[in-house]
């Protein structure tokens, strides 16, 4: 019998873990630096909790059933869990709440051989709805990318509320088709929809409303806008100015691209939305946005709080960082190998090893357990890149030998 992992599952060995930790440690430094606190929520959620926001396709959730017949799912993302936990258990805590997580998520794909389990590190800023909160989120994304030496990446920024509102000028029957075509960049579909020339031009304009933020805002301002739409455009303008001031003259920065065609086909995000994309455009490194209606869905009385967050995809980051050579290429070797030179000196060897460990909290000390010949011990130390061997005699006397 050969036991294999389930299709789409993978094991992470020590070197994989060291590389993953390298990325996660850098993200965590940034989250801590901005005053965020870690939250750990359940891997399993009730299916209705996961579905409440309307952004999750139930067919992508790996489902289970508990003993009472309740439908459960392995979380495909963490915002739903955090929203559920925050509205019920953090009620009364002073706002805003700054939370971060570092967790595994599970997703079933149509092509079922693809990976099922992924790792994500992300933040949620709950109870702050201002332009300054939007700016904090984007600055945090830029800081994460910078701390990972990914200054050549791009943040694509959209405004779900504004784009949705601009779509309201289309006849209701055609609106979902227009929205879907814009979300999927399907220009052919847009050109074939039964729209008036004026509306078709507007749809095509929306499809390509992207570029340097101030240029795009200039172009949007020239459209006939309702009061509320103009207010959103002004808010975006304030956001861009705020970012400009905050980033100031610091030289290396990921580029920000404003793209008003960046929308989803579901109403989950209510304000800015964004994706961090690698320099080659081949990896989505992270994504997020503002969701001001979500917390209300989890509140017993429907009271909502503004919320905004983003997540960094550890696998995507790993793929982009690996060829740059900045990830560790080996697990850290032990500093010392403590070897009892006879079976009687084992006790003394453990005692001596502990003495070294206590001298410096970062030192790694192994005790040799079974090899007896000194040559075997030396060859093992060499292969493991351990530089110091300490031979211990039954009296506990050490003899240090350096290996090169």
């Amino acid at each position: 019998m050969v036991y294999q992992p389930p299709v789409g599952a993978r094991d992470l060995f020590p070197l994989d873990v060291a590389q993953k930790r390298w990325i996660e440690d850098r993200l965590q430094q940034v989250f801590h630096g901005w005053g965020y606190h870690r939250i750990i929520t359940s891997t399993l959620e009730r299916l209705d909790t996961l579905m409440a926001g309307g952004a999750i396709d139930p067919t992508t959730v790996i489902q289970l059933q508990d003993r009472e017949g309740e439908f459960l799912g392995l979380r495909p993302e963490l915002t739903a869990s955090i929203a559920r936990a925050a509205v019920t258990r953090l009620a009364g805590a002073p706002y805003p709440q700054r939370l971060y997580y570092n967790a595994n998520v599970f997703r079933r794909t149509a092509r079922d051989t693809r990976q099922h389990e992924f790792y994500q590190a992300g933040v949620e800023l709950l109870g702050a709805g201002s332009v300054a909160a939007d700016a904090e989120m984007l600055l945090l994304v830029l800081d994460c990318l910078r701390n990972l030496n990914l200054n050549d990446s791009t943040v694509i920024l959209g405004e779900a509320g504004l784009t949705r509102s601009l779509l309201s000028s289309f006849p209701e029957a055609l609106r979902p088709a227009v929205r879907s075509a814009i979300a999927h960049l399907d220009r052919i579909q847009l050109e074939q929809l039964p729209l008036t020339d004026e509306l078709r031009d507007r749809a095509l304009l929306l499809l390509d409303l992207r570029g340097q933020p101030m240029d795009v805002l200039q172009r949007v301002s020239q459209l006939a806008l309702a009061t509320e739409q103009r207010a959103t455009v002004n808010r975006l303008k304030s956001l861009m100015e705020l970012l400009q001031q905050a980033i100031g003259s610091s030289p290396a920065q990921p580029n920000i691209l404003l793209d008003l065609s960046l929308i989803q086909t579901f109403d989950y995000y209510t304000g800015i939305v964004f994706e961090a994309v690698s320099a080659t455009g081949q990896q989505v490194l992270g994504q997020g946005g503002r969701y001001d209606q979500l917390l209300g869905l989890y509140h017993p009385k429907g009271e909502s709080q503004p919320g905004i967050g983003f997540v960094m995809n550890i696998e995507g980051l790993h793929q982009v960082l690996l060829p740059t050579g900045c990830l560790p290429t080996q697990t850290p070797p032990s500093d010392w190998l403590v070897v009892p030179n006879s079976p009687e000196s084992h006790g003394a060897a453990f005692t001596y090893a502990q003495k070294i460990r206590e001298s410096d909290h970062r030192v790694r000390v192994e005790v040799e357990l079974e090899r007896s010949s000194p040559d075997e011990v030396r060859s093992y130390a060499q292969r493991r890149q351990i530089q110091q061997i300490v031979w211990i005699d039954p009296a506990g006397q050490p003899m240090i030998e350096s290996i090169d």
Binding site: L185, D186, R187, Q189, L257, D259, G281, Q282
Partner: protein, 216 residues
């Protein structure tokens, strides 16, 4: 570097002619002695990959090619996450239901429930019969689908029809068209958003070339 995925087979020569008209020369692919799968254009400004029809959207979806040319039939069947930008108006054909000429059925809806339908276009066939609310068993085949009804394995087929000659030579008749297909220009969505390697300019040039060609 701009990379274009080009399909082997019927769409290749028109596609190469189209790219030539915007200054990208990949005509080496048309040389019968060519065995290369990746070539540079003569000015070294772009690269082309020669791949199976079905694989064009795969290379584009994963971003190994920023642009690709592929039949709409493949896009309908595989539903890849790519930006569909331009109808190139060549490679016209349609996906149709066909039966043996001697079959008593003259429309798809008349087929008896639970009959077998052979096709390379499993998803399109499934969606179509589901739309008719007619339960059928789709038998996936990879080539020479016409043999399905001839050997008696299946009652009908769902396959591409261009001139209709293959059907006729095999004593089959087309009973219901499902959709029309032409060649399409597709792009990797993020490369399109980021305008990588001047991809937007190239798309605009292709759009103009197509419009000019259609005016003549």
């Amino acid at each position: 570097m701009l990379t274009v995925a080009l399909p082997k087979g019927g769409l290749l020569s028109d596609s190469i002619r189209l790219l030539q008209s915007i200054g990208l020369d990949f005509s080496a692919f048309l040389d019968a002695s060519n065995r290369q799968l990746e070539i540079w254009d003569t000015h070294q400004t772009a690269k082309a990959l020669l791949v199976r029809n079905n694989d064009v959207p795969v290379y584009v979806e994963y971003g190994q090619a920023q642009l690709g040319i592929v039949g709409y039939d493949i896009l309908r069947e595989k539903q890849p996450r790519v930006a569909q930008l331009l109808d190139l108006h060549y490679g016209q054909c349609r996906l149709s239901v066909a039966v043996k000429a001697s079959s008593p059925y003259r429309s798809a809806i008349e087929l008896p429930p639970h009959s077998r339908v052979a096709s390379k276009f499993v998803n399109c066939a499934h969606t179509y019969f589901q739309g008719l609310d007619l339960p059928v068993e789709i038998v996936p085949l990879y080539g020479s689908v016409e043999l399905g009804p001839i050997t008696g394995m299946s009652e009908a087929i769902v396959d591409l029809v261009a001139s209709g000659r293959t059907l006729k030579e095999n004593n089959l008749i087309e009973i219901d068209p499902i959709f029309e297909s032409t060649a399409r220009l597709i792009a990797h969505p993020l490369s399109y958003r980021l305008n990588q390697d001047g991809v937007q300019d190239r798309i605009e040039q292709i759009r103009q070339a197509i419009e000019t060609a259609r005016r003549v």
